[in-house]
């Protein structure tokens, strides 16, 4: 590109971030992050996704202060109230406020997403990058293992694990994580295969770097962008599987609010008292959409294929 730009003078903090000559490691890193952010923020849909997820995090953090009612204690006199003044989104068959349950349910959803992301992604990248870099027998064994996991439909496998481990949020996370890592391993391996033959990896080998150093310091950072994109796109799927497990009674233990379980509880009255299962369903839909939009936006920022 052209090396001279005609720009309007930006404020000082922005000049510091956009400096051509960073003076420290920190400034270099922050400035890089800031440029990515500017690109991301230019995409209105991605910003919408970020706002949705931001609201989710906010609700989860401040649930006790935001929720107008107790999400667990029922009021049998108030069963199946339609949406109205005191219960914005109505009440369920045990007289619990649906809006409050959705707010508290966001904690469960967020927890599951977070736990799955921090367990499945590292496992996937470690297996995939190692297989791709070392090749040979190691690769054959690791990738056949991955294929074996991939051969099962995700939901069925998660169901089997959850059924075997018993209901509960930890087991749900474990079941989902166990079924989520194989695609990450495949992506990491594919990225590694292209990175492994680059000149910068050759240069690292010439400088005497060990295989482990090259894997962790040189190859894995190159796998991260596509992995982050994939994980954020997968979050919608994780929410749906978590909801599916909850729907089938294999997720969170009953009185705790969970969106999938809420839909399940309301399905018998779907025609007469539509709000009982519709609103948690809408919550699942909106949050899934939010993560998808973020994932698309991140892809534009982190994974631009035009080099």
């Amino acid at each position: 590109m052209t090396d001279w730009a005609i720009a309007v003078t930006p404020p000082r903090w922005r000049r510091w971030l956009l400096a051509e000559t960073p003076h420290s490691r920190l400034q270099a890193r922050l400035s890089r992050t800031y440029l990515s952010w500017v690109t991301f923020a230019r995409n209105p849909l991605a910003m919408l996704g970020l706002i949705i997820v931001g609201i989710l995090v906010f609700l989860a953090l401040f649930a006790p202060w935001i929720a107008p009612h107790n999400p667990i204690a029922g009021d049998l006199g108030n069963r199946l109230q339609p949406p109205g003044e005191s219960h914005w989104l109505g009440t369920d068959q045990q007289g619990r406020d649906i809006w409050s349950r959705i707010i508290f349910g966001s904690r469960t959803t967020l927890l599951i997403i977070f736990m799955v992301a921090i367990t499945a992604a590292p496992v996937g990248i470690a297996i995939g990058a190692t297989a791709g870099y070392l090749g040979g027998k190691t690769e054959a064994i690791l990738m056949r293992l991955t294929d074996a996991f991939l051969a099962f439909p995700k939901l069925v496998l998660a169901l089997a694990f959850a059924a075997a481990l018993g209901p509960g949020i930890e087991n749900a996370v474990l079941a989902i994580a166990l079924t989520s890592w194989p695609p990450y391993a495949r992506i990491a391996r594919a990225e590694t295969l292209t990175v492994r033959s680059t000149d910068f990896v050759a240069a690292a080998r010439l400088s005497g770097a060990s295989d482990l150093r090259i894997l962790i310091g040189h190859i894995m950072p190159m796998c991260m962008p596509s992995l982050i994109v994939r994980v954020s796109l997968d979050m919608a799927g994780v929410i749906l599987i978590a909801a599916g497990l909850g729907f089938l009674g294999l997720g969170v233990a009953p009185p705790q609010p969970e969106w999938g379980a809420m839909v399940s509880e309301g399905r018998t009255q779907i025609l007469e008292q539509w709000w009982v299962c519709t609103y948690p369903g809408v919550a699942i839909f909106v949050v899934s959409l939010g993560f998808n939009l973020i994932g698309d936006g991140l892809r534009d920022v982190l994974d631009p294929r035009e080099g």
Binding site: T2, W4, A5
Partner: protein, 279 residues
């Protein structure tokens, strides 16, 4: 060279929006060309490639111009449908690397036929395609016609690419560093083909290159670009008599085989070269 120009460009400007501000990549470029070999030379970032792309409406930047006319027809603000009648048919473009320009899942023959779809069909088109492959001096046109892109060497791929671009018999060919990825001998053979086509088919050729020595020996005229502007317009063979210090500097830089120096002269860039060229 006949009188009426193929292409007229007057005060062409291209701007890009980037997170760090607007970049004015091409500034007030003007030239007129007929059936000749016109070179646009310059270093990376000089705006030479963007200028070539703007003629085909392919630059991602914002294009403005007082005039951008092809055979008198304005190319400014054409609808996508109108572009389709020009791109690849009346004006064609050859890129630097055939690897990225040939479709890997189509045989060379199918791609050639596809390129001429609106002009010829059936056996006539096939004949035309084989003739084109022969014209770019591919020795066994039948084999190459059936070949897949990955089966061809770089030089062969580039020749097939040129054949494809010529299928529709364009009146203007824009070649952006068409031979930089090729070995020296193959490079010259490909240039000889282009030279032939300009002479026999009365085509105009815009040759975008950084190689002054090649331009000097191959082209008719040369525009020297720097920082988005045309600094100098020269007859290519008189390139060595260039006036502008930038052109002279560029000519002196490359190491020469028969004239060895202990150190190479280094181009001293003068900030005044960035100033708008006085009209």
């Amino acid at each position: 060279m006949d009188k009426d120009p193929i292409l007229e460009v007057e005060k062409l400007n291209i701007r890009f929006n980037t997170p760090v501000g607007e970049v004015h990549a091409v500034r007030d470029v003007s030239f007129t060309m007929g059936r000749e070999k016109l070179a646009i030379v310059g270093e990376s970032g000089s705006g030479k490639s963007q200028t070539g792309r703007a003629i085909l409406g392919l630059t991602p930047g914002k294009v403005t111009a007082q005039k951008l006319a092809f055979h008198g027809q304005s190319l400014l603000g054409l609808a996508e449908q109108q572009w389709r009648r020009i791109r690849g048919k009346r004006i064609a473009m050859v890129m630097q690397d055939p690897k990225y320009s040939l479709n890997p899942v189509m045989t060379i023959g199918d791609q050639l036929l596809e390129a001429a779809r609106d002009i010829k069909e059936g056996a006539a088109a096939r004949q035309h395609a084989l003739g084109m492959l022969a014209a770019v001096r591919i020795r066994d046109p039948e084999r190459v016609f059936r070949a897949w892109p990955h089966e061809l060497s770089g030089g062969m791929g580039q020749r097939a690419m040129i054949a494809m671009m010529l299928m529709a018999e364009p009146e203007l060919l824009i070649a952006d560093e068409p031979t930089s990825a090729l070995d020296v001998t193959v490079r010259l053979q490909v240039l000889a083909i282009l030279d032939d086509l300009v002479k026999t088919r009365h085509m105009g050729l815009i040759f975008i290159s950084h190689d002054l020595n090649l331009v000097r020996t191959f082209c008719d005229r040369a525009l020297v670009m720097y920082a988005g502007q045309v600094l100098e317009k020269l007859t290519a063979s008189e390139l060595t008599e260039a006036k502008h210090p930038y052109t002279r500097g560029l000519l002196a830089c490359p190491p020469e085989i028969d004239h060895r120096r202990s150190r190479l002269p280094v181009l001293q860039r003068d900030p005044s070269w960035m100033e708008p060229v006085g009209s």
